[in-house]
Symmetry: C2
Subunit: 220 residues, 2 copies
Amino acid sequence: MSDTSLTQLPEPTLRRLPWYLAFLTTLRHSDVEYVSSTRIAAEVGVDSSQIAKDLSFLNIRGKTRIGYEVAALEQTLRAFLGFDARHNAVVVGAGSLGTALMADRGLHPYGLNIVAGFDTDPAVIGTDKAGVRVYSMDRLREIARRRDVTIGIVTVPFEFAQEVADQIMDAGINAIWNFTPRRISVRKGVVAQNTSLYSHLAVMYNRLRNVEGKNGEDGR
Amino acid sequence: MSDTSLTQLPEPTLRRLPWYLAFLTTLRHSDVEYVSSTRIAAEVGVDSSQIAKDLSFLNIRGKTRIGYEVAALEQTLRAFLGFDARHNAVVVGAGSLGTALMADRGLHPYGLNIVAGFDTDPAVIGTDKAGVRVYSMDRLREIARRRDVTIGIVTVPFEFAQEVADQIMDAGINAIWNFTPRRISVRKGVVAQNTSLYSHLAVMYNRLRNVEGKNGEDGR
């Protein structure tokens, strides 16, 4: 495979690239034409040599003294990250968080297209949540195939996370975005991404207690 | 400070602890009384020696051959992680994602209590979003003080992320939960947590392309 998009990029690089993209978009909105890695570094809080290294994965190099062309780099990054393509997804678990994700149109410009919801609750099945139709679980396979679904988003209570992940894989969906605080096991060739808001809360609470503890000690 | 909750725990440990907690809750629901670190390891996908090390930060050690007491460990973990306490938060940016977070009651059992929203849009100010009142930005400081707000959640368009973060810090709020794809700088003594859904999408899309590329090669 010579296509660079198929390179197995380090995950930290993949996580940082959207930060650079966001900053580039801001610059373009301000009609800035060129930007140095030093400037990106100062804004984004990443070492400039790291930025140059991250961007080299895309075969992009800045020009000496001029830097990177903002619009071109933004466009290349967007395409490279897959934000220009459409990725059809289903949400399994049309509860509070699931409905929130279906209602959130903010991920649409990043290529995420939620085409259906799934639930086990008869009161919810057949209704529309934020304009997205909710189906019973036994229709997952059929709809996944028909709508060319590649991503299954898991927002069920955590006790059911693995069971639902298995059903998503059985339906031929190759990527699972897990929002539950439960780890899930996936089969070979299936991609799993965990977004644990609870873990982030845990880190934040702990750091906050440290801050408050210190402020208290200082008599502030 | 002898209180272990004020120890500066490694972030990876803090991120893993909620996974153990979720599994312990599942076990308690199934009336399981004791669990070994080996069993937790198998379920959660973390090495058992790592689990023992993580739990030792809480001064918890399992008993030989019996393991950990499920209910006691669950309770200790919940309290340690701050999920039992109430942390008042505001959401700045009552758009799509902000409203979704206000509507999502799933974080409430984890101690997150969203008391108000803020926005600059006159059409939104003064309305209720998912039962949460939205105020104009100039009332941030007053409401933060009155409601004892410790967390500011940033869900504005990324161009305004830093400006809003500054306003949150000016209002005396010491933790910022940033959902924008833009990095923000915080002052000393202020805690920042980034939850970049876009970064997670980028990782998922890239891995998915690899999988699809490989499956294509195999002729599957």
